[in-house]
Amino acid sequence: MTGRSRRVRAAVVVIGLLLTAALGYAFSNVRKGYAPRQPIPFSHKRMAGAPLLQANAAGEPVNVGGFGIPCVYCHTMPYKGRHSTLPSTAVCMNCHSTVGLNKEWVLRLKEYWDRGEPIPWVKVHDLPDFVYFDHSVHLTAKNERGEPKLPVVEEQGKRMPPCQTCHGKVDQMEIVSVQHSFNMQWCLDCHRKPEMRASTDCVACHR
């Protein structure tokens, strides 16, 4: 066997292994980084992000950051129900019936509202149908000391619900994307922590 063919063979093997690894990675992390296009390019950064005042040309302070709307203003149910729920259009219209009517996307929102049509948002964090995830138990579960198992995030003096643990810093995202692999391994990484004392029974999620 010549050295050249040896190298070719070695290259084939290495490429094969890499391909396998890449495929394996792709399959295991199909959800991570998923950032679908939405019917309205709602910016969480603008709406939920921290305010940032800057002077405009006229020297007036203008908020170029976000409006700091808390998550649960729109996603109302995480502490009470299984779903965190998407806001109905009416929630958007609380402000946007008067605000931002010079913006194209707000007008599109208003069109939906006027037609009485719901907005067909594309699910970003989309678990398979056979997974029964309950937001409320994750947010309200307490450890032996009576503290929430998922810690409250303290940021800029504000106590934020621990949404970030799974969803990442949505308030800094222009377009929401999936920050974690959201596969079973990732769920179990937390459930298996001794201090979580969470169930690793199959029926905890599958039934």
């Binding site: 719901p118 067909p120 309200t140 222009e174």
Partner: protein, 1054 residues
């Protein structure tokens, strides 16, 4: 974009747009990349445009509503506006109970074969064209106006006071004639009670108070709509552990009947007497008690002595073949229990020619035994049974033929299907053809609607407002639990709408209130649209009187809302004074015919199918697929023949036999029915529909035409028939393998007699012990779920089966699926006939139905579901780790991991695992394979047609093909209870007893099923599991089930 908006966007917007485009293209690229890596297709999440205020808390949670269905108050669980379960109310005191038809009502609601809107049928359903409701109403009102008294409204039993009032208003205003037609009526009881007490009200027996119950063909367990099964079971407590007072109490129930009914199968003793002899036997007991033993108020009454004279025990015994000493013993037992004994009739046997005499003799017996004086009958629970005879229908047919009817409105009646075949002058269908104009208000193009000109489909009760009368003058509101799925209207809405057109003030007020615009109506709809809440306004006005407050006042609103939350309204208690039997009732005894002279004659009993009843819900797959608790036949019925006669005729189950009543014949598959009287055969009613839709069409035979019209009564029992074997075979889809169990060889059902039980509380639970385990046990530090099933309380009614089917999204497999041996039900009621072991041999097991066992069978019912064994054999053998034990003792089955080796099903000693042999939840489209494998299309028709999917419980995964499934102990309810505990800040591992109620336990009206955590404080299931009556099956195999069966104790103390 509006014209006055700036056409050039400000910088900021353009920046945003550029940013967005950049990011969205990146996102698209990412999505495409992810797509190549098998990303599931994007799913949309559609929120409300404007969420209704009351749903803010309700997303993803079940909401419960009280309503009423077929005269029984029910609790309906809904999710996101869809009813997904029908359950009994917590403490049902209305004197009504659920039947399997209530449990299965979802399948009627989501029946894809209901009409989706008004149709112009013109008696040619194949060329039907849609109509608008406006056109229908205009047409009907115009015709009502012109026809006057020549218009007829033919209804089934009137469901409630509001509908009755609306019909009355219509009748009064336009002269409409109202005819009711009840296919299966309790006319004999009404006749006897009217004669005895001067009124048609039939008091409700207090089974819970009676120590001895004698059933004369009684069928109160076959039809539990009267709620008598609860009362009966409350007295089946040999150890008293489940009673508040803790005192053991066992009633004794003796049944005399010709066909082994579910009621008879639960009797402590049973005497076989053919239907036409029942009245004689009842009279013989009356003779013995009144004349011979001089008991009761009629003792010494000359008229009584004369009326009862022919019925000496000796004479009756000679004529009927019943052993005289058995009757004497029974009479003595009744005498001993006088004041504590009840005699019940009212079953199918009461529809025999001598049925009135039977009911009368029953009254005489009850009076003699002092049942009325002792308060064993409850007038606060009295009902007026539906008893409209056949006369109204006969007169209607005559008028139709005579051309005296211009317009016929049919609402909730289907006489073309269920009228007797031999009306004077021809069949009812022929008479209908003479009617110039027929409007059908039935919900589909059924047998009668097919002959109509217009079909104006009414909504399902779950879709419309109405009310219903309950026993004892109580009433309940029927409130809709879902918007109409199609363009249908409630019956009350229609009647009020039409009555308003004729100026009925109450109706007109309702219409006025309904059309008062709340919001401006859309301009596009020009026609007058009565609001769907028309009936609501009418009902509120009507109920304002009953609730004693003016409609529209806040007090009324509060009372009304309270009523909706409670579900029913109870009048102030009426005085239930003792009744005195009018001796005039003795005259009815004379109607008892002399015992037939030809002893070889065979007589036919037509009995309502246990699941399907009178066949109204003929397209309900759950009801068809429910095995009859006694015969275990699904998807059809059979001619029940006594075992000895069956063997003499050389038949096998399914061989075709022709029944000839003299004026009608019917060919049906034969069935070897244990416990039948030798000279009696029986056929179920309610089958053989042709117009109900493809699910139930042509399943079984329609036996209604065999009934005979005799003096206004429909005779459905004691019909003399001749049997003839004909060529052919029609396989019976029997949902059980062998039916005889020799408990000595196979100790699978704990059962004993009261005598033995009192001597030894563990009697009947003996089995071979298992060996020691090689392994240590797994610890269960927290909750450990378990179940106890009290076989003494279980009547085998099978409501748990349907409740489970609804809760757990279990598909229907159809007749072909049952014949293939692939049932899907997670819980089944095994019915065995108890057999003594055979002598000798190394295999003495008895299983093949020997005559000595099945002629006088002792039935045992055993609900069989996943036993959640501690050492589950199924778990060990699954290579994919798709089934294993949870930390709280559940045998988990994970569908998304299951690959379908079916090894677990093989290795399950209880055979409770169910495999999805077909795709049941999705339609498969390939034309070629649908042709090649016709069952693909058949299964799709049974399970996948919209809107059937709406019945699915979102808490339970819908299984795909190739996946094993089984009872999960309703793990979804356990997990919801745990989630509730976590939200409330409590520990999910220590739920209080009773926090979790699985669907079967919820459906069980006799409280035979107890479920809970055996580690919970005060756990009822732990107490039951440690009772000496408890038996865990197959101890010798060492599987250690989590389900304990409590001994069935048969009261043998005469």
């Amino acid at each position: 974009m509006n014209a006055h908006e700036p056409t050039t966007a400000p910088d900021e917007v353009r920046m945003e747009r550029r940013e967005f485009l950049r990011l969205s293209s990146a996102a698209a690229a990412a999505a495409a990349l992810a797509g190549t890596a098998c990303q599931v297709p994007p799913e949309t999440a559609v929120p409300f445009s404007d969420m209704p205020e009351n749903l803010v808390d309700g997303m993803g949670r079940a909401r419960y509503f009280h309503t009423v269905l077929d005269g029984t108050p029910v609790l309906v669980r809904t999710r996101e506006g869809r009813p997904i379960l029908v359950a009994p109310r917590d403490q049902e005191t209305s004197g009504r109970g659920l039947t399997v038809r209530h449990q299965a009502a979802l399948m009627d609601l989501y029946d894809p074969d209901r009409a989706t809107g008004p149709l112009a049928l013109r008696r040619r359903p194949d060329t039907a064209t849609p109509l608008s409701w406006n056109a229908v109403s205009v047409d009907v009102v115009a015709r009502l106006r012109s026809s006057g008294a020549r218009a007829v409204l033919l209804t089934g039993p009137v469901p409630g006071p509001a509908v009755a009032a609306a019909i009355a208003a219509l009748r009064d205003r336009c002269g409409l004639r109202h005819v009711t037609w009840t296919p299966i009526a309790a006319d004999a009881a009404v006749a006897a009670w009217s004669q005895a007490f001067g009124g048609p009200e039939v008091a409700r027996p207090r089974l819970a108070e009676a120590d001895v119950i004698l059933g004369l063909g009684a069928e109160f367990l076959d039809d539990p709509s009267g709620g008598l099964d609860r009362d009966f079971a409350s007295r089946r407590s040999p150890d008293g552990a489940d009673r508040p007072d803790g005192r053991p109490t066992m009633s004794r129930f003796v049944q005399i009947e010709g066909r082994l009914s579910l009621t008879g199968a639960n009797a402590d003793a049973r005497i076989r007497v053919r239907d036409s002899h029942l009245a004689s036997v009842a009279c013989a007991l009356a003779h013995e008690l009144v004349v011979v033993r001089g008991l009761g108020p009629l003792a010494g009454d000359a008229a009584a002595a004369q009326a009862l004279a022919p019925f000496t025990i000796a004479a009756v015994a000679a004529a009927t073949g019943v052993p005289g000493d058995a009757l004497e013993g029974l009479a003595a037992e009744l005498q001993r229990a006088a004041g504590r004994a009840l005699v019940l009739a009212g079953g199918s046997a009461s529809s025999s020619a001598s049925g009135v005499a039977l009911e009368a003799a029953t009254l005489v017996l009850n009076a003699t035994l002092g049942a009325f004086d002792a308060g064993l009958f409850d007038d606060t629970g009295a009902t007026v049974p539906d008893a409209s005879g056949v006369d109204g229908l006969v007169a209607l047919a005559d008028d139709l033929r005579a051309g005296a009817i211009e317009m016929l409105i049919v609402a909730g009646a289907n006489p073309v299907y269920d009228a007797p075949g031999a009306l004077p002058g021809g069949s009812f269908a022929d008479a209908l053809a003479k009617a110039p104009f027929i409007v059908s208000l039935n919900d589909r193009v059924d047998e009668t609607s097919a002959l109509a000109d217009v079909l104006a489909p009414v909504s399902h009760p779950f879709e419309s407002w109405s009310d219903a009368a309950l026993p004892g003058g109580a009433a309940a509101i029927q409130q809709p639990v879902i918007q109409p799925l199609a363009d249908t209207r409630g019956l009350l809405d229609l009647l009020v709408d039409w009555a308003a057109a004729f100026g009925d003030p109450a109706s007109a007020a309702a219409v006025a209130a309904a059309v008062r615009p709340v919001t401006p109506p859309p301009a596009a709809t020009a026609e007058r649209l009565p609001s769907p809440s028309l009936a609501w306004h009418y009902l509120r006005a009507a109920w304002a009187v009953r609730l004693g407050a003016d409609a529209g006042t806040p007090a009324f609103d509060a009372a009304w809302n309270q009523l909706l939350r409670a579900g029913s309204w109870q009048p102030s208690a009426r005085d239930a004074g003792p009744r005195a039997v009018d001796p005039k009732v003795l005259a009815l005894l004379g109607a008892a015919p002399p015992p037939p002279t030809a002893p070889a004659a065979v007589e036919l009993q037509l009995y309502p199918h246990l699941a399907l009843g009178d066949g109204r819900h003929g397209n309900n797959g759950w009801l068809h697929e429910l095995p009859d608790p006694v015969t275990r036949i699904t998807w059809g019925g059979a001619l029940s023949i006594a075992p000895r006669r069956f063997d003499e005729m050389g038949l096998a189950n399914g061989d075709l036999v022709e029944v000839d009543t003299g004026h009608g014949t019917l060919v049906a598959p034969a069935y070897r029915h244990a416990g039948m009287h030798h000279d009696q055969v029986a056929l179920p009613l309610g089958l053989g529909r042709t117009g109900c839709g493809p699910i139930g069409a042509n399943i079984g035979q329609n036996a209604f035409p065999l009934r005979q019209n005799a003096n206004g009564r429909l005779i459905a029992a004691g019909l003399p028939v001749t049997l003839r074997r004909v060529d052919g075979h029609d396989r019976l889809a029997i949902g059980q393998g062998s039916e005889v169990l020799d408990r000595e060889s196979r100790p699978l059902v704990p059962a004993t007699t009261l005598t033995a039980f009192e001597a030894d509380a563990a009697a009947g639970t003996r089995q071979v012990a298992g060996g020691a385990s090689a392994w240590p046990e797994h610890p269960y530090p927290n909750a450990r779920w378990a179940m106890a099933i009290d076989l003494s309380r279980c009547t085998g009614c099978a409501k748990c089966v349907v409740g489970c089917q609804a809760e757990n999204n279990i598909p229907i497999v159809g007749r072909h699926g049952m014949l293939d041996g692939r049932p899907m039900a997670w819980i089944r009621i095994d019915r065995y006939y108890d057999a003594p072991p055979r002598d000798g041999g190394w295999d003495a097991a008895v299983w093949d139905g020997p005559l000595e066992v099945v002629e006088e069978p002792q039935a045992l019912f055993e609900p069989m579901l996943c036993q959640h064994c501690e050492n589950a054999p199924c778990e060990t053998v699954c290579p994919f780790s798709a089934t294993m034990h949870s930390a709280d003792g559940l045998n988990q089955q994970i569908y998304n991991r299951c690959v379908g080796t079916r090894y677990c099903a093989n290795n399950c000693p209880f055979k409770v695992r169910r495999f999805n042999y077909w795709e049941m939840s999705k339609r498969q489209e390939s034309t070629f394979f649908r042709w090649l494998v016709p069952r693909i299309a058949a299964n799709a028709e049974l399970n996948t047609r919209p809107p059937m999917q709406l019945k699915n419980n979102p808490e339970v995964t819908v299984r795909s093909r190739g996946v094993m499934e089984k009872c999960s102990f309703c793990v979804q309810r356990i997990r919801l209870a745990r989630a509730e505990a976590i939200r409330a800040g409590a520990s999910p591992d220590t739920l209080p007893d009773g926090a979790v109620v699985p669907a079967c336990m919820e459906a069980c009206s006799t409280k035979a099923i107890t479920f809970g955590d055996i580690h919970a404080p005060g756990s009822r299931v732990a107490a039951q599991a440690s009772s000496p009556r408890a038996m865990r099956l197959l101890e010798s195999v060492g599987v250690k089930p989590a389900i304990s069966y409590l001994t069935k104790v048969r009261n043998d103390k005469a």
